[in-house]
């Protein structure tokens, strides 16, 4: 993964050690040969309804049956009542864009996407959702404009997620 790893391999051939010179400071760096790739595996059995919803084109939130508080991201347990007595409710897609940003410098695992817009919308039920805003030109958007929450396929992976759009999805 390291950009200096290739140099380290050359250096082993030449001098027998994975020590390379750092470009700017010219100081010696020992490049570890032991990569530690991390791909986490998250338990989502309590959120199954949410993921089933995505397959049906719906985005679900939860509501506590005791205090009536609504949650998105959905929670299977109410943090106020500490009860698991919650109800799953599909979100009304209409909302208002509160804020947004255009990500230019991306994490390495997002390097294969074009610059993307991340926004936060306030939906009718008082729930807020953070997602990509699907727009060809970020100049077209500003805070407080109307947006819609919809499920969408994320390409090139092709998995189902949700996003905000400027046009009603139906």
């Amino acid at each position: 993964m390291s950009d200096l790893f290739d140099k380290a391999k050359e250096s082993i051939k030449k001098d027998g050690l994975p020590i390379v010179e750092e470009e700017r400071s010219r100081l010696p760096l020992y490049i570890s040969l032991r990569e530690f790739p991390l791909r986490y595996q998250l338990g989502v059995s309590k959120l199954q309804k949410f993921f089933e919803g995505l397959k049906e084109g719906k985005v679900y939130a939860t509501q506590c049956n005791v205090c009536r508080n609504k949650f998105f991201p959905p929670r299977a347990d109410c943090p106020k009542c500490l009860t698991s007595n919650v109800n799953w409710m599909p979100l009304d897609p209409e909302g208002q864009l509160l804020t947004y940003t255009v990500i230019r410098v991306k994490p390495s695992s997002f390097a294969h996407y074009k610059d993307y817009v991340v926004g936060i919308a306030q939906l009718k039920e008082g729930i807020r959702v953070l997602a990509w805003v699907s727009v060809d030109d970020p100049e077209k958007i500003k805070p407080n404009m109307k947006v819609y929450l919809t499920t969408a396929r994320r390409e090139p992976e092709g998995y189902i997620t949700y996003e905000l759009t400027l046009k009603a999805p139906f």
Binding site: I103, K106, P107, S108, V129, W132
Partner: protein, 400 residues
């Protein structure tokens, strides 16, 4: 609970420290702090290491730092609270002394962020948010989290990108005078405006850098402090708060950090400070300017001005030395650098030197605040507002 004083402070050179390992880096500030307090490693009874981690290969930095600094076999631990790690470590050290467990505690904040390959640095920071709901699907980056605050704030209060740039100009102005700062060059509004967008509306010069560095503090009980020094700097109060990991669950309409508001409220109450006019109680403050917008939010969260008026403070130069409340006279995170585990300790290092009136000699006389009230404040935020610590230092001994 017993009174706790800062009796020794130390600071490494901040920057790209490819020349040292993390324990060697920790030793630089530890040695300085021990010298400052006229103590030896054997005098210390417990060590707290603030290190956010994952940035460097050593997984348990408290162990190697403790060993390298000659602290074995004393007890130690690593503390983590994202970018507020240094303050959290100080909080633990404070309580170890206040509780009576030990009379002398060493707190060292250290981070070696350049041990991680460049390619993975943005990834590592982005993962600091709510993993499944912000990072996994939407690839938010650290500048991205704060950009969401900036966009909303600019829209609501008519702030311009040039206004944000003024914060960077001030902090680089003072950073240029700080011998241990990462960037020691003054900049102009144009420098900021011409830099490229990282996460619109934030540009490269709105952002603090990634930094390697360490800062150490020696905390002492009242009796020990009296033996050691005549200019005792007391930790008067610490406020701490946690807010939701998910940005969508935060309050204040993305125009403030509720964790910082809460931490300030707690600290003001403990220190007997009028929350309606806190600025008049302090000679200076260090605030968490990881991005230019963050400093504006900090002015308001701390109550130095009303909500939406933070920009007036920077436009009128009220946070320069000699103004209403001088802020970040050491260059702040923006120019001094932000080794995330060390930043909280570095703030207390600066404020201690300022209260002792040693900062002018260390940096530049024009960066020494006028010490009249004998009180200073450190505001240290973790993540995009998940954690906040507000620490109040004073020359006057707290009354119990």
């Amino acid at each position: 609970m017993r009174n706790v004083a800062v009796v020794g402070v130390g600071h490494s050179q901040f920057g790209n420290r490819f020349d040292v390992t993390i324990d060697e880096l920790a030793l630089e500030s530890v040695k300085e702090a021990l010298d400052d307090a006229n103590l030896e490693a054997k005098d210390i009874e417990f060590m707290v290491v603030g290190c956010a981690g994952v940035w460097s290969a050593e997984d348990s930095p408290a162990v190697i730092c403790s060993d390298y600094c000659g602290m074995l076999p004393k007890g130690s631990m690593r503390v983590e609270a994202m970018c507020a790690t240094g303050s959290a470590a100080t909080f633990v050290g404070y309580n170890v002394v206040a509780s009576g467990f030990a009379d002398l505690v060493l707190v060292v904040g250290v981070e070696k962020m350049h041990e991680l390959p460049t390619l993975l640095q943005v990834e590592r920071m982005g993962r600091g948010g709510s993993f499944l709901w912000e990072f996994e699907n939407f690839g938010l980056t650290f500048p991205g989290y704060y950009a969401l605050y900036a966009t909303r704030y600019m829209w609501k209060y008519g702030l311009k990108e040039e206004d944000l740039a003024e914060v960077a100009v001030k902090n680089h102005y003072y950073g240029a005078m700080n011998p241990k700062a990462q960037f020691r060059k003054a900049i102009t509004v144009d420098t900021v405006m011409q830099s490229r967008y990282v996460a619109w509306p934030l540009k490269l010069f709105d952002c603090c850098p990634l930094t390697d560095g360490s800062s150490a503090l020696i905390l002492a009980s009242e009796d020990k402090a009296k033996e050691l020094t005549d200019t005792r700097v007391w930790i008067t109060a610490i406020g701490s708060s946690t807010a939701s990991s998910a940005l969508v669950s935060r309050g204040l309409d993305f125009c403030g950090l509720e964790s910082a508001v809460e931490a300030a409220k707690q600290a003001y109450k403990k220190a007997g400070i009028d929350p309606d006019e806190p600025a008049k109680y302090f000679d200076l403050a260090n605030v968490h300017d990881c991005f230019t917008i963050a400093e504006i939010l900090a002015y308001e969260d701390l109550g130095f001005c009303k909500r939406g008026e933070g920009v007036r403070l920077i436009r009128e130069k009220q946070t320069y030395n000699g103004g209403l409340i001088p802020v970040n006279l050491d260059g702040g995170l923006k120019s001094k650098g932000h080794p995330i585990g060390a930043t909280g300790c570095s703030m207390i290092y600066t404020l201690t030197k300022q209260l002792r009136q040693e900062y002018g000699k260390y940096a530049s006389p024009s960066a020494q605040a006028d010490i009249r009230k004998g009180r200073a404040l450190a505001h240290n935020v973790g993540g995009s507002g998940q954690y906040a610590y507000v620490t109040i230092l004073s020359l006057e001994k707290p009354q119990r």
